[in-house]
Every structure is written in C-alpha cells, then in structure tokens.
Subunit: 228 residues, 2 copies
Amino acid sequence: MADPVTARRGLMLILTSPSGAGKSTLTRQLLQVENEIALSVSVTTRPKRADEIDTVHYFFLSPERFIQMRDAGELLEWAEVHGNFYGTPRRAVEEALSAGKDVLFDIDVAGVRQLAAMVREDMATVFLLPPSVAEQVSRLKRRASDDDAAILKRLKTARTEIQAWADFDYILVNDDLDRAFMELRAILHAERLKQRRRPKLEALIAELGRDLDGILALGTLPAAGPSA
Amino acid sequence: MADPVTARRGLMLILTSPSGAGKSTLTRQLLQVENEIALSVSVTTRPKRADEIDTVHYFFLSPERFIQMRDAGELLEWAEVHGNFYGTPRRAVEEALSAGKDVLFDIDVAGVRQLAAMVREDMATVFLLPPSVAEQVSRLKRRASDDDAAILKRLKTARTEIQAWADFDYILVNDDLDRAFMELRAILHAERLKQRRRPKLEALIAELGRDLDGILALGTLPAAGPSA
C-alpha cells in the first residue's frame, strides 16, 4: 500500500432500506464479488444463537461492558431494540479504513444519522427502494420467516423510513436485481476514486512537480527514454 | 421520461487534466460508448477553420455578440486566449440537463472554477493525471502537432495546473488506459444515481406511502397478486 497511486483510505458504504427491498441479496452478492470490502461486525448484548459465531456475526458483550464502551465514546452508533443493545465499534472501523479496506454497513435510518454526525466524510450512503409495495409484500412473504403480524410491523416501520430518502447520497430502485447490483458496484468503485480518500497522491503530485521543474529549468525536452 | 424511476436531471461531467495525460482519448472513448452524454459546444470569436462546422465544433460568433452574451450572463464561464474569446453558453447546457441528458466538459482549471461558482450542484469534477512526466512528455511528442517550444509551453502550464488537484471531486491516474476508462464510466454511472439528480422519485415515494397506508389501515396483507 506504499504506492501513492493505489494507496487510499477505505470508505464506509452504508446500505439502508425498508424491509423487503432486497437489501440482503445485494449485500451478499457484493461481498462475494468485491474483495476489499467487509461487512461491519456489530457489538450486541443479546444472547448468542446456536448457529452464530462470536466475532464473526457479532461481538457478544455483557450489558456492563457495552455501557462502558458506549460511555467511553468507543461506539460510532448504537441502539436499544427489544431490551438488547446493538452498536458499531469505532476502533475496528478506523483500523479497516486506515488500511485502505472498505466497510459495508447494513443499518437503519436512525443508525445512519448517528454515524453521519461522527464520520460523514468517510461515508457513502445508499438508500434502496422497492419498485412497489406489491413487490415489497411479495418479497416479505417469500421469506417465510415472518407471520402476517410480523410483516405488518415491518411495513409500519417501512412507512416511516421511506420518508428519509432525501437524506441519502444515492438512491437505488430495485426493479431489476442485476441492474441494482451493477449500480451499487459503480457507486463503490466511484467513491474509491474520491480525491479526499487519496491523500497519498500528494506524493505523486510532488514528483510530477519536481520532474517538470527539472525540464523547465533546462529549457529542453529529455530525449525519448525507455518509456517513450 | 415521465417514469419517476428513470427520470433524472442530467449532470455536467467535467474532465480536466494537464496536457499529455490522455484526456482526448478518454473523452473520445466515453462519447462512443455512452449514449446519454454529449460534449459541450463552446462559443468562440476565433475564425472558423476549413474542417470545422458551425454549431458542431463551436458556435462561431462576432466579438460584439460574444460580449453581449457575456454581459447578459448567458455564459457559464469564459476566457480570452491569444486575443480570442471562448465561452460556455448557459442555455444549451440548461436545456440538456433538464431533458435528463449529461454534458461532458473538456475545460481547464480556471474554467472549472468559474463553473463551480455558478452551477456546483450539477457538476462532477474529475482530474486526470499522467503517471509520470516521462510518460507525459512521450505522449506530447507522439502527437507530432507541436514542436519542442510548444511542448515546453504546455509543460509550463501543466506545472501550475497540477497544483489544483485537491479541488476536484475525483482523481484518475492514467497509468492504464483501460482501467482509467472503466473508472471514468463508474464515476458517470454513480453520479447519475445521486439523490439530488432524481427529484421525480418523490412521486415513487408518495405512491409507496399511499399503498403502505392502505395496507396499514386495513391491518391485513393483500393476497398474492400477479406480481407475487
């Protein structure tokens, strides 16, 4: 990563959507295809399920340790849901970004607002919309993990969350999964090229400046070298 | 363009670079491959050359007409070069953007600064760098249209222009033309998805809101329809 042309600061790619827009599918596809991005691992106080692995799916913490981290400013965002705490640990994200790795976040509108207050410059925020409520409901029914009451609860939350669309940098409408996936990748690839993520390019600029100064001081062009 | 999902406001893609970075090649490739973008046509007071077509290569104007346009605020940016005036007409750009078409600008650092003062929200600015001065000089020599004195003059201008790199949204380093071209396309595709370029999505948000309200008022999920 010492090469100024390729060295960069990682970015936080935030993908948010109401339930049933297809976010999980897009997230899974992106992580499969793109190498330099990993899903953010949250801390939580809820009990570990049998199929979950500590440090992979979550960092499982005691409530005391969670509150300690939160109060010490070690969480970029946090929330309490059904009596359990969830949060994003600051240090792991900072280490990834400094190493030029991107971090993907699958968080809700409230979480995005907390993050934006802390680290807006590192973020690229994407809001994913379903093309219609009919399509959204049919996606939620296909999942089969929720009964009708649970789906209605999700739709109620969605009703509030879609109002936040104007706060996001980019909007995707998932009327065609392949197209939405191409669009998400274009956003990731473009955001990596942002000037503010490439401070090491200063070294290239300095080198170009020195070499131009050398030619201009002599007042004659160099003979064609091996690179000509 | 009535479909709120696809309707969008066009963007101004600004590609700026010191001479010899490969900008002309990238510009030509982009215009060949991308349909919804066209090169901005400038107005000028310099005499038309034999191989140039009025309204295609430039809008050729009298100095009186140019000054009239400039003083009436009809130019987004302008400059005087070797006694001739050059400028970007505001109305043609505004009509393209309103119709959802993108406009590509091949302008210098001073032009970008003038544009940014007028229409920053519509712009995405890209600065293209050569990987080395040796490569830059060899590109300028290959062109064969300039003698050594003209190339030295270009390098002197380049020396000043590279300092402006930090003012641009995106930086490309042209050490591999195919990669730089892919990167430029990713920037164009991502910028088209920016929330602020898609005001018509308000209609989709309103429709989703109405349909969700309908379901929530009934308190039961609709039966699976044809789209399920």
